[in-house]
């Protein structure tokens, strides 16, 4: 009802033109026995007023707790100009820019995005986004199998310090494709992979090595040595990176002697709200030599019939709508609007702003870890330095402690019990530039209190 403009006159005139007695008659090709009799289970319609009241009440119920969870999704400041611009109808309500002449706004924005992401990661080409960071890893593995012509094994080495959800998604999305995944351990008290431990794979046909930097624990990996190790064995290197960290960290294009081959990651930190998990965007960049193996849309600069510069989708022969069963991926709709958010975010921050966000986040996390480990029996799990996350261990199970913190409006981090039981009572915490010293103090004193009463109980 609410969004249908037809008046009774319209309906009558339209049916007359069609030559149908009723709207119902337009469905006469549908077998009568299949026709829906009633739509039980659907409530009746609400006005915008009612639905907004409902949503406001539900939002209030969720509240706005103080969040120290990271684990792949990070609370960063989002400039107000980002969403006020990208929710402009012309961006928000446009389709994929197949009609290039009527979509130069979107196309040029994608070209700018591709340029920024290539520069940030130190690579030569970028696509126009994938679904999210996790699926981007899966796509990168499939791409590596296509791109690494020297390797027959379709064998990928996945670190155990890779985000466990990325691992899970990669397995689920490649399940029927005959890939082999070997898991690389992390050094128990340092939290990162050691090149030495790779020795067991020497002599194997390895298609690709995945390296996450910083890894799931927030810890820095030895990317140069790992990259060189892989390249020396004919394997491609898939870098999984946090885009904010790249303001401070060596870009994957410069890892080792030759640089990583495929770079992917979660774009969420660049201007996308946490929003219970999405929409975010996955990014992927690579070297020019692999561009035809890359999944997803790509925009190219070209000229129009009068020789004026313009932009259009290019290399579409990789994509499902042209190549069908032989496409590089089945992806069609991607995460365009979020990619736009990332583009505006990067433009507004610039390299220096991004550097400050990264530095502030690192500093806040250091401050947080210091405050937490000042509490008796709270310790850092790993000696090696990291970015804006860290694992701390408690003397007792994490879950009830987190529940106690939640009661006080504090989300104290991610319980690693299910993911890394070998770490004991381990908690992954994160602080970004959005956290103040007062926030950190509030967390530390709530934690200390929660542990005290747990001990007392």
């Amino acid at each position: 009802m609410p969004f249908i403009p037809h008046t009774e006159d319209d309906e009558r005139e339209m049916l007359a033109v069609i030559g149908a007695p009723s709207i119902e008659a337009l469905f006469d090709e549908i077998p009568a026995n299949l026709r829906v009799q009633s739509l039980e289970g659907l409530p009746s319609g609400l006005s915008e007023l009612e639905v907004m009241q409902l949503m406001a009440a539900r939002a209030r119920a969720d509240g706005r707790p103080l969040c120290f969870i990271g684990a792949g999704a990070y609370e960063h400041h989002i400039p107000a100009a980002v969403w006020s611009t990208i929710t402009r109808g012309e961006f928000y309500s446009a389709y994929t820019p197949y009609q290039a002449e009527a979509s130069q706004g979107t196309l040029q924005s994608i070209y700018e995005y591709q340029s920024m992401m290539a520069r940030l990661t130190g690579m030569q080409v970028s696509n126009a986004s994938l679904y999210d960071g996790a699926t981007a890893v899966a796509e990168a593995c499939l791409m590596a199998v296509r791109a690494n012509r020297r390797s027959q094994a379709a064998r990928i080495l996945l670190p155990r310090s890779l985000h466990p959800h990325y691992r899970a998604v990669t397995l689920a999305m490649t399940l029927n494709q005959d890939l082999t995944f070997d898991t690389l351990p992390y050094v128990r008290d340092a939290g990162h992979m050691s090149v030495d431990s790779l020795a067991v794979h020497d002599g194997q046909d390895i298609t690709a090595l995945v390296i996450q930097q910083p890894n799931f624990f927030g810890v820095f990996e030895e990317v140069d040595a790992l990259t060189d190790w892989a390249h020396a064995r004919g394997a491609l290197v898939i870098a999984v990176v946090n885009p904010i960290s790249l303001a401070l960290l060596k870009p994957p294009g410069e890892w080792g002697a030759k640089g990583a081959d495929i770079v992917v990651g979660e774009g969420q930190p660049l201007g996308c709200p946490l929003s219970s998990g999405g929409p975010y965007f996955g990014f992927m960049t690579t070297r020019m030599q692999h561009v035809r193996q890359m999944p997803g849309r790509i925009v190219g600069a070209t000229v129009d019939a009068d020789g004026r510069p313009g932009f259009s989708l290019t290399l579409q022969a990789r994509e499902q709508h042209i190549r069908r069963a032989k496409a590089t991926s089945n992806i069609c709709t991607n995460q365009g609007l979020l990619m736009m958010a990332g583009t505006l975010y990067l433009a507004l921050m610039g390299a220096e702003g991004l550097e400050r966000v990264a530095a502030a986040s690192m500093a806040r996390t250091a401050e947080l870890v210091a405050a937490l480990t000042a509490i008796p029996h709270v310790r850092r799990a790993f000696a090696r330095p990291g970015f804006h996350e860290a694992v701390v261990t408690l003397e007792r199970p994490v879950a009830p402690v987190l529940a106690a913190l939640a009661q006080r409006g504090i989300q104290g981090g991610l319980d690693l019990a299910d993911y890394y039981p070998e770490l004991g009572a381990a908690l992954l915490v994160c602080a970004t530039e959005t956290k103040t010293s007062a926030d950190i103090d509030a967390y530390a004193s709530a934690l200390s209190e929660a542990l005290r009463s747990a001990r007392a109980a």
């Binding site: 709207i23 009746s44 609400l46 639905v51 928000y92 999405g278 929409p279 530095a359």
Partner: protein, 495 residues
């Protein structure tokens, strides 16, 4: 034109040392990156634009004006369901509590959000007639992946290991065969008869012991309802295969007939089509999947469950659903898109849902009739249009050398987004036209007038059409050059 019609690149605004400094966070004492081990630091800054906040806002505002969109133009893009995206949906999804909620937040800090997700699952079940729904797939193709993966898991669970063929009709969307491949299957095409329905003989010939399933849209991409769908279901089921429903065309039948009742075992819905979440110039989408009873155990995780005690709503994961095909997304799905769809469905309600299918169908049949009146040829004139229909310009091409592309580009000149062109591949020189239910008769009439003008121009001045568009920021773009001289990222002049 001096209203923005040309806009330089953001990099052209950049000057060393400029910046939107209000966005830079205060850096707390001791924030220097001493923690970074030697050799891991970045040595040269990435050459991102150095621009002011005003530069950025002005640049992207001007760029936006170069786009056609639903909010500015009629956009009858077949198969894409470009309907009005209600602004309330956006406002609700961006409420600070929803926008700020961490995906791994405890469920006690998310009962409001989870209630929406649970009810969305329930509504989608009701409207599709499926037994279970998972919301996590991130777009239609991702939902297809989930669906075919579940079909494979089903056969595998039964020890029926040889089934690795997915049947797709000739006119299927490219994602269907591409999905089959991603699921390790072989895509086998089945022919479509002259009336647009699947050729049942051909289908019988192709099914067999290797058949994992068939992927169909209904109404099909030809814009007609597959009338013998029950027979199709019988043939495939009897051969041991399952039926997958590509929900891209669900808008056509919303409230009228349900995939579950037609015999489908798995289905994805494009919430960014049928349920009016915005397409955002390429995404995001949300490709929730629904399943029949036989596929219930295989749904991807996570799923929202409603329990009996507080907290009422909670996530089910791999542990609770051990046969699940697993996790397909970093977190729980495109929650913000799901919230928008939820709000839209609540506003429509039972009555509104039914009217979507009705008026989408009325609009398509009216537009088809009117366009035939002014001289266009429908691909299936003897059939009812569903929510969309196909024109073929075969005749115009033969008589005047005017192609579907020419017509599409000229429509842009006249202020209408073009229909889908050259899809489905089955029909030569085709335009696939989907007006959607949110457009008024007056808009459709204006479109008919533009199309009639183009037909006149095709007869009188075909050059005009070959050269179109004439009035847009750019004329026809050289795609060949774009692919040959790949220019995919900005390089500083001389750099």
């Amino acid at each position: 034109m001096s209203l923005a019609l040309r806009e330089k690149l953001i990099f052209d605004y950049s000057r060393p040392g400029r910046g939107a400094r209000g966005q830079w966070p205060p850096v707390p004492a001791g924030a220097a990156p001493e923690g970074i081990p030697a050799g891991l630091e970045r040595r040269t800054r990435p050459q991102l634009p150095e621009v002011s906040e005003l530069d950025t806002v002005r640049h992207y505002t001007r760029l936006s004006q170069l786009n056609f969109s639903i909010d500015t133009h009629f956009y009858p893009l077949g198969s894409c369901t470009m309907k009005y995206n209600p602004r309330a949906c956006n406002a609700a999804a961006l409420l600070p509590e929803f926008a700020g909620r961490h995906p791994l937040a405890p469920v006690t800090h998310g009962q409001g959000f989870l209630a929406c997700m649970y009810e969305l699952q329930e509504m989608l079940k009701a409207v599709t007639g499926m037994r279970g729904v998972a919301l996590s797939p991130l777009a239609g193709a991702h939902g297809e992946f989930a669906g075919v993966a579940m079909i494979r898991a089903y056969h595998r669970a039964r020890g029926d290991l040889a089934r690795d063929e997915i049947i797709v009709p000739q006119a299927a969307h490219g994602t269907n065969p591409a999905t089959a491949t991603m699921c390790g299957c072989v895509a086998r095409e089945v022919a479509v008869g002259a009336d647009g329905d699947v050729d049942l003989e051909a289908l019988r010939a192709v099914v067999g012991a290797k058949t994992a399933g068939i992927m169909l849209t209904n109404p099909s991409t030809l814009g007609v309802f597959e009338r013998r769908i029950e027979e199709v279901a019988r043939i495939v089921h009897q051969a041991g295969g399952l039926l997958y429903y590509d929900g891209a065309n669900l808008n056509a039948i919303l409230g009228k007939v349900r995939p579950g009742d037609m015999g489908f075992d798995a289905i994805h819905m494009n919430l960014h089509k049928t349920f009016a979440t915005p397409h955002g110039g390429g995404g995001p989408g949300a490709g929730a999947v629904g399943v029949s009873a036989r596929l219930l155990p295989f749904l991807p995780v996570p799923i929202v469950e409603r329990g009996a005690e507080q907290p009422l709503y909670r996530w089910l994961g791999e542990r609770e659903l051990p046969q699940s095909i697993g996790r397909l997304t970093g977190f729980g799905g495109n929650a913000g898109v799901l919230l928008r769809a939820y709000v839209y469905m609540r506003m429509l309600g039972r009555e509104g849902m039914r009217r979507v299918g009705e008026y989408a169908t009325l609009n398509a049949n009216y537009l088809s009739a009117r366009l035939q009146q002014v001289g266009f040829e429908a691909a299936y004139p003897q059939r009812r249009a569903s929510h969309e229909f196909i024109l073929t310009l075969k005749r115009a091409e033969q008589d005047y050398g005017v192609t579907a592309m020419d017509v599409a580009k000229r429509l842009l000149d006249l202020g209408f987004h073009a229909p889908t062109t050259y899809f489905p591949l089955l029909i030569s020189e085709c335009l696939l036209i989907e007006p959607t239910e949110t457009e008024s008769k007056q808009t459709l009439d204006a479109f008919v007038a533009a199309m009639a003008q183009i037909l006149r121009e095709a007869q009188e001045d075909p050059e005009q059409l070959h050269g179109a568009p004439h009035r847009l920021p750019v004329r026809r773009l050289d795609d060949v050059r774009a692919a040959r001289e790949l220019n995919l990222i900005y390089q500083e002049a001389g750099g």
